[in-house]
C-alpha cells in the first residue's frame, strides 16, 4: 500500500502571530515557518505503518509557495520516501487543495491518504473531508488510533462527547488528532539522506486545477485581549460566582 501524506507549511507554533497593519492578513515576512504539527503526526503515523510492514511507500505532498520544499524536506528527513511539490503562489483555499490532492491521488493511487485534522494557521478543518467527498472514498476524522487491515481501517475518533470507533473501507482519507502519536526527531544522518530523495515539482495547471481563490478576506483582526482572572477563596464563592455572575451553572 502507498500512503500519501499532505503536509502544510505554517507559521511555527512558537511564534507570536501578528496581524499586518493594513489588516489584510498576518505578518509572514521573516517569520519562522514549520510543518503544521498535525501534519507531523500524520507523517509519523504513515512511517510507523511502513515500518510495521503495512505500507511500502510514504509520499509527502505539499501545495503552496516554493519554500514548501523545506517542509517536504523535513518530511523526507523524518523518513518519507519521496515528495511532490505543487508550486503555487496564490493563497490556496481548502477546496483548491482538495482538488489538487484529488488529482495527485488519481496519479498515485494510494490506499490511504493521511492528513492532519486541521492546520494551526487557519484552523479550517476542511481539506480531508473535502478530499474524501471529491474522491468518493471513505473518511474518518480526528483519529486517535488507526488499525490497518487488508481491506479496511479501524479508526478511533476523538470527539467532545467521547471516543467513537468506525470502520473505513480502503482506499480511505483519514485525518489525525493530537494524541495519535508523538512524532520522531529527524536525526542528522537522516536529514543528510533526505538531500538525495526525489522531489517532483508540479503546478496546478499540470493537474488541471484552477487554483484562484473564491473567497475574499475582508479584514483580519486581533482577538480582544483576555481580561485578568480573579482568585476566589473558597469553593462556595466559586459556585456562587459561576451561578450568579457568569450564569453558567
Amino acid at each position: 500500500m502507498k500512503i500519501l501524506v499532505p503536509v502544510k507549511r505554517v507559521i511555527d507554533a512558537n511564534v507570536k502571530v501578528r496581524v499586518k497593519s493594513d489588516q489584510s492578513g498576518v505578518e509572514l515576512a521573516n517569520i519562522k515557518m514549520a510543518m503544521n504539527p498535525f501534519c507531523e503526526i500524520a507523517v509519523e503515523a504513515a512511517l510507523r505503518m511502513r515500518e510495521a510492514g503495512q505500507a511500502d511507500e510514504v509520499i509527502v505532498v505539499s501545495a503552496g509557495v516554493s519554500q514548501c520544499h523545506e517542509t517536504l524536506r523535513t518530511g523526507l528527513a523524518m523518513g518519507a520516501d519521496r515528495a511532490i511539490l505543487i508550486e503555487d503562489d496564490q493563497d490556496l483555499e481548502p477546496l483548491v487543495v482538495a482538488k489538487l490532492l484529488k488529482a495527485v491521488c488519481e496519479r498515485e493511487e494510494p490506499g490511504l491518504v493521511l492528513l492532519g485534522k486541521q492546520a494551526i494557521d487557519g484552523d479550517n478543518n476542511q481539506t480531508g473531508q473535502m478530499l474524501s467527498a471529491l474522491l468518493g472514498w471513505s473518511n474518518a476524522t480526528f483519529a486517535s488510533s488507526i488499525e490497518v487491515n487488508d481491506d479496511h481501517f479501524k479508526v478511533t475518533r476523538e470527539l467532545d462527547s467521547g471516543l467513537e470507533s468506525v470502520t473505513a473501507n480502503r482506499p480511505s482519507v483519514i485525518t489525525v488528532d493530537l494524541r495519535l502519536n508523538e512524532p520522531r526527531y529527524a536525526s542528522l544522518p537522516n536529514i543528510m539522506k533526505a538531500k538525495k530523495k526525489p522531489m517532483d515539482k508540479l503546478t496546478a495547471a499540470d493537474l488541471g486545477v484552477d487554483s484562484s481563490p473564491r473567497l475574499q478576506v475582508v479584514k483580519v483582526e486581533e482577538p480582544p485581549a483576555r481580561q485578568a482572572g480573579i482568585k476566589v477563596s473558597s469553593a462556595e464563592e466559586l459556585v456562587d460566582k459561576l451561578r450568579n455572575e457568569a450564569k453558567v451553572i
Binding site: Q67, E70, R73, Y185, L188, P189, I191, A194
Partner: protein, 381 residues
C-alpha cells in the same frame, strides 16, 4: 532564517531538531543535574543517536560531514537551554576534546574511538590547563618521559571539563623540554582507569554546575606508544589549531545564552506590572533591551561571518579572537540587564535568569580570556 546567506535548509532543519530536543529533553529536566553536578550519560547517548555529536565527523564513523556553520547552530541552540553546564558538557566533547582525535589521530586510533564518540558512549575531555599555566599554554609543566614501550606522564591538570566522568582524555605533556617553546609538547590519549592516572578532586564552581570539572593527577602514568596523538613534540600546534574552533563555538554558545535571556526577559517585562503599566511600557527598560538586542544581533553577524571565513579555509585568527572576546563580555552585559529587569525574583534560586547569570561569568575567562583574545587582535592591527 531561510533568508540567511550562511545557512541552508539543512542547517535550518538541524536547528529545529536541536531546539526541540533542548525544549523537551533538557529544559524541563535540568534542575537535578545542577544538584548532582553532572549531565546524565543517557542524555548524551540520546544526542548521539540523533547524530548531534558527529556533525562534522566522517560518515564511516556515523558522522554527517557537515561544516562549521552546522556546529555553530548546535552551540547556539545548546546555549539556549539555560543550562550552561549541560551545554559545555556536550560542546567540550564535540568541539574541544574529540577534534584532537579527529584532526591528528591515526586511522587505527580513529577506528577505535570515533564510533563511540559519535554515539555518545565514549565521552571525551581535553587536559591542557595546569595550576601554573592557563592562558600561557606553552608553560605547562606536566611531562612525559620515554620508557620501555611507551611513556610515563607526571604532573597535574586543573579545571578540566568532563574531568570526573570522561572515558578518554587528551592530555598535553612536555616531551622535549629543551626544544623551542612551540616544540616541547605532545598530546597523549589517556583512558580512564589507566594506572597512575587519578581524578584528584571534583571542583565546585560558581556556575556551569551541571558540568563536572576536575583536577587530574598523573603519577608515573604509563601510556603506550600507540597512545601518542599526532606528531611528537608538535602538540602545541594541535592545541592552537583547535583553539579557533573552540572559540567560535564558545562565542556561539554565549550568543545562544544571551538571546535566550533576552527572550525570557521580554516575556517577563511584558507581563510584570508596576506604576500602572507593564515594565515594557517604561522607556528606560524598552530601550535598554533594544540596545542589547542590537549588540547581540551585531555579534551574531560577526560570529557567522568568522565561521564562514573559517569554513573557506581563510586565516581568521583576528576575527575569531574578536568573536571570543566580544561574545564573552557581551553575554555578561546582557545577563546583568536581564537579571536587573527581573527585579528581586531574578536573584532567587529557581529562576532561570539567576542560573544564567552565574553560568555566563566564565565565558569571558575560559577558552581564551578576554585580555588574551584582545592581545591576539592587537597583534594583527
Amino acid at each position: 532564517m531561510s533568508n540567511s546567506i550562511y545557512f541552508n535548509e539543512y542547517h535550518q532543519m538541524l536547528r529545529d531538531q536541536v531546539r526541540r530536543f533542548v525544549e523537551t529533553e533538557i529544559i524541563p529536566h535540568g534542575d537535578p543535574w545542577e544538584e548532582t553536578g553532572v549531565t546524565p550519560r543517557e542524555v548524551l547517548r540520546k544526542m548521539g543517536e540523533l547524530g548531534f555529536l558527529g556533525i562534522r565527523y566522517g560518515a564511516e564513523y556515523g558522522g554527517s560531514e557537515m561544516d562549521i556553520l552546522a556546529t555553530i547552530v548546535l552551540a547556539e541552540e545548546l546555549g539556549r537551554s539555560t543550562f550552561g553546564g549541560f551545554a559545555i558538557t556536550v560542546l567540550v566533547h564535540t568541539d574541544m576534546a574529540s577534534p584532537h582525535l579527529a584532526n591528528a589521530g591515526s586511522l587505527v586510533q580513529q577506528q577505535h574511538y570515533m564510533p563511540g564518540i559519535v554515539k555518545g558512549e565514549t565521552i571525551t575531555a581535553v587536559a591542557v590547563t595546569e595550576p601554573g599555566a592557563g592562558s600561557d599554554v606553552a608553560s605547562i609543566q606536566t611531562k612525559a618521559t620515554p620508557t620501555k614501550g611507551g611513556w610515563l606522564i607526571n604532573g597535574s591538570k586543573v579545571f578540566i571539563t568532563n574531568g570526573v566522568h570522561a572515558d578518554v582524555y587528551f592530555v598535553a605533556a612536555k616531551t622535549n623540554p629543551d626544544g623551542p617553546r612551540s616544540q616541547r609538547t605532545t598530546m597523549f590519549i589517556v583512558e580512564k582507569g589507566s594506572p597512575g592516572f587519578t581524578v584528584a578532586r571534583k571542583l565546585e564552581k560558581m556556575g556551569w554546575r551541571s558540568s563536572d570539572t576536575a583536577e587530574l593527577l598523573f603519577q608515573d602514568c604509563f601510556v603506550s606508544e600507540a597512545q601518542v596523538l599526532g606528531e611528537q613534540h608538535h602538540g602545541f600546534y594541535a592545541i592552537m589549531k583547535n583553539f579557533q574552533n573552540e572559540r567560535l563555538v564558545l562565542g556561539a554558545q554565549a550568543l545562544g545564552e544571551a538571546q535566550k535571556a533576552l527572550d525570557l526577559t521580554l516575556d517577563y517585562v511584558r507581563n510584570r506590572k508596576a506604576f500602572g503599566a507593564t515594565l515594557w511600557d517604561k522607556q528606560a527598560i524598552r530601550l535598554r533591551l533594544a540596545e542589547r538586542q542590537t549588540e547581540v544581533e551585531a555579534a551574531r553577524q560577526l560570529l557567522y561571518h568568522s565561521a564562514w571565513l573559517d569554513s573557506q579555509g581563510v586565516d581568521c585568527v583576528k576575527q575569531v579572537s574578536m568573536v571570543k572576546a566580544y561574545c564573552g563580555e557581551l553575554v555578561n552585559r546582557v545577563m546583568y540587564d536581564c537579571q536587573q529587569f527581573h527585579g528581586g525574583s531574578g536573584y532567587m534560586r529557581g529562576m532561570p535568569i539567576e542560573r544564567m547569570v552565574r553560568d555566563a561569568r566564565v565565558q569571558s575567562i575560559g577558552g581564551g580570556a578576554t585580555e588574551v583574545m584582545y592581545e591576539e587582535v592587537a597583534k594583527r592591527l
